[in-house]
């Protein structure tokens, strides 16, 4: 039966017109992933009106292509420019950019593309095999389970943060608070808006991310770059060496598995997947001190994980009608425009659309790896541009990108403020990455905490009575306890001291 479904899917996806839109989506995705400041959210939002005239299947195939295409392109900017196009490639910056500075940008890009391709293939197969089954499991998750799941994600972020645990936790809490700015969905009260109407809709994720990581990082880089003349980095060989492959195939497998699982869960998605995959590799590694200094596992695992998650995050959307992130929310919008209600009925009422989209993901991944592997040389050549010419360009694209998210010049000014915050945090030895994760999960956590507490009539014990929630909380506690062990603690401090 599944074979027939897949054959149907490929017969839909392989029509010339759908192949064309798949290619367009993948290419567009890579392009915007590479262009700093313009991510898939902006692109999909801008292109949404352009898809009105298309057949719904073609439209969704192209929009999906932009999303996973950007996962390929996003890692390129993370590695070459230390500028994540999205949260999902924030962790790739740590080791990917470190590798680039060591002249190993080529292998970093190649491993990330090949890992993504493997993850894409595996995730497509997983969707086809398990989407009915996995949907049935995820549908049973209650608010308490979701809350505990997000706690695990945040603890993961603390574990992977360098330096003081206290500082990492405080960054998460600060991020959670920033996530609450704007109108509360339950009561319509506008919180922490300082009387500014521009803040009523909350702080846009792109604004925060570009400010903290884009603008803040540029200032830090300009400050630290004092002695060197230019930044011409010899990139070395493009293809990974035998050692690189030996070191990265296991992380790719683990990243794919973890990413597929986390992408499935609402509120998880690509960001949580890449963070968790990185934390897992760092924990499993026999030499965790290499992480953050150009460990190839730190590129292979999160890049595989985010691509796997980008694809499996379609499962809750297609089977439950539940968007797990901003891009999926836009996909819901796209489906509604074409008169399709996302939900379990799609599989039976529009099998051509459901399976056609799944088949197109595999085709799109194949196109991406075939197009990108030869083009890596081109991306690497970007490094030959001196930084004094590069950073004004990055700043301008970031400004235009931030503006275009909601056509707001105020957002550009707000990003400058977050740029200042990013600079101050780095100077005071606080890591900004946990802040971003807290920011994304803040509203979701509040929503699920409220719902769980309402359902249990104000009894916090519900988090320990629900079996799934209990297991997740124990997992979080175990992770936290692990970092407090004397041996691990010493290891963390050694990393910090450098």
């Amino acid at each position: 039966m599944m074979l027939n479904d897949l054959i149907l899917g490929f017969s839909v996806a392989a029509t010339p017109i759908n192949l064309f839109y798949c290619l367009m989506g993948s290419l567009f995705g890579t392009l915007v992933g590479v262009l700093p400041g313009v991510g898939p959210v902006v692109t999909i939002a801008v292109l949404l009106p352009a898809t009105f005239a298309l057949e719904p299947t073609s439209a969704l195939i192209m929009l999906a292509g932009i999303y996973y295409g950007a996962q390929y392109g996003g890692s390129t900017t993370s590695i070459l420019l230390n500028l994540p196009g999205e949260t999902s490639s924030v962790v790739t910056c740590l080791d990917g950019h470190a590798m680039a500075r060591q002249g190993r940008a080529g292998p970093a890009l190649a491993v990330s593309a090949l890992g993504s391709f493997f993850a894409g293939c595996a995730a497509t197969l997983l969707i086809a095999l398990f989407s009915p089954l996995l949907g049935a499991i995820a549908v049973r998750f209650g608010p308490a389970d979701y809350f505990s799941l997000m706690v695990v994600g945040l603890v993961g972020a603390v574990v992977l943060a360098q330096g003081s645990l206290l500082k990492a936790v405080s960054m998460i809490v600060l991020g959670l608070l920033l996530g609450l700015v704007g109108t509360d969905v339950n009561s319509a009260v506008s919180r922490f808006d300082f009387g500014l109407p521009e803040l009523a809709d909350g702080i846009n994720f792109v604004v925060l991310a570009m400010g903290l990581f884009g603008i803040g990082e540029i200032i830090v880089t300009l400050e630290r770059r004092k002695d060197e003349e230019g930044t011409v980095i010899p990139h070395g060989r493009v293809w990974p060496s035998r050692d690189d492959v030996r070191q990265s195939w296991k992380p790719v497998l683990r990243g794919t598995a973890l990413g597929s699982l986390l992408g499935l869960l609402p509120g998880g998605g690509t960001a949580l997947a890449s963070f968790a995959a990185y934390a897992l590799e760092k924990k499993l590694s026999r030499s965790p001190e290499r992480f953050g200094k150009g460990a190839i596992e730190g590129v292979a695992a999160p890049e595989s994980a985010n691509n796997a998650a980008a694809q499996t995050s379609f499962i809750p959307l297609l089977t439950l009608g539940l968007p797990s992130n901003a891009v999926m929310a836009l996909m819901v919008g796209a489906m509604m425009i074409h008169g399709i209600t996302p939900g379990p009925q799609i599989m039976t009422s529009r099998p051509d659309l459901f399976w056609g989209m799944i088949a197109s993901m595999w085709i799109g991944n194949l196109m991406l790896v075939l197009l990108n592997m030869p083009m890596i040389g081109l991306w690497v050549r970007l490094l030959r541009i001196p930084y004094r010419l590069l950073y004004p360009a990055i700043l301008l694209f970031a400004c235009i990108g931030i503006y275009s998210v909601s056509n707001s010049a105020f957002d550009v000014g707000l990003a400058a403020a977050f740029g200042l915050l990013g600079y101050v945090l780095v100077k005071a030895a606080f890591e900004p990455a946990p802040l971003l994760l807290g920011f994304i999960l803040g509203p979701l956590m509040e929503e699920n905490l409220r719902r769980a507490m309402t359902m249990s009539r104000g009894d916090a014990g519900v988090f320990l009575r629900e079996p799934v929630s209990l297991v997740l909380l124990l997992l979080a506690a175990a992770l936290l306890a692990l970092t407090l062990l004397p041996a691990v603690k010493r290891g963390r401090q050694e990393v910090f001291v450098e």
């Binding site: 313009v38 801008v46 330096g163 003081s164 206290l166 500082k167 936790v169 405080s170 600060l174 959670l176 608070l177 609450l180 509360d184 339950n186 009561s187 009260v189 919180r191 922490f192 603008i215 540029i218 200032i219 300009l222 400050e223 770059r225 004092k226 003349e229 230019g230 004094r388 010419l389 950073y391 004004p392 360009a393 700043l395 301008l396 400004c399 235009i400 503006y403 275009s404 056509n407 010049a409 105020f410 550009v412 000014g413 990003a415 400058a416 740029g419 600079y423 100077k427 005071a428 030895a429 606080f430 509040e446 409220r450 507490m453 309402t454 104000g458 916090a460 401090q493 910090f496 001291v497």
Partner: protein, 148 residues
């Protein structure tokens, strides 16, 4: 008693201020009960938590020194990079994309210590034109281009 790590001590105090500020602002929002949480419940919880974490970081800085030092502030990149972004934000609505890009590029291009002065106008003009072509004509962003 002397402070071992001034940078951490001050950071901790700053977090106390932010957490306290959040706690203070959350007074205006209904707290509700644990059973039926109001809009103020979660923010107050987080604000209090952040203030406590800040206190812990400050106290820790009295005894433990991790060796991190704030170091001097690099005013030139700080002011000119942020100034470039801010000038874009302010100029966009008034002057349009073409001139706002030119302004932002000129200001921010001066932020680095190895400026080559003849490069700045070339870079600014070239990138402004490029961004017009890509973002306005290519991606079709709805954006004001000229002052009129």
């Amino acid at each position: 008693m002397s402070i071992r790590n001034t940078s951490d001590f001050v950071s901790g105090l700053a977090l106390v201020a932010v957490g306290g500020g959040a706690l203070f602002a959350a007074r205006d929002y209904a707290m509700g009960t644990a059973f039926r949480m109001g809009p103020g419940y979660f923010p107050a919880l987080l604000g209090g938590l952040l203030a406590l974490l800040g206190i812990a970081i400050s106290l820790r800085a009295l005894w433990i020194d991790e060796g991190n030092r704030m170091g001097g502030v690099a005013w030139r990149p700080l002011v000119l990079v942020l100034g470039g972004v801010l000038s874009f934000s302010v100029a966009l609505g008034v002057l349009g994309l073409a001139l706002a890009s030119l302004l932002a590029l000129t200001v921010s291009a001066l932020a680095t210590h190895d400026v080559r002065h003849w490069e700045v106008p070339v870079l600014s003009l070239g990138l402004s034109g490029f961004s017009l072509v890509v973002f306005v004509y290519g991606l079709g962003l709805p954006i004001k281009i000229w002052p009129v």
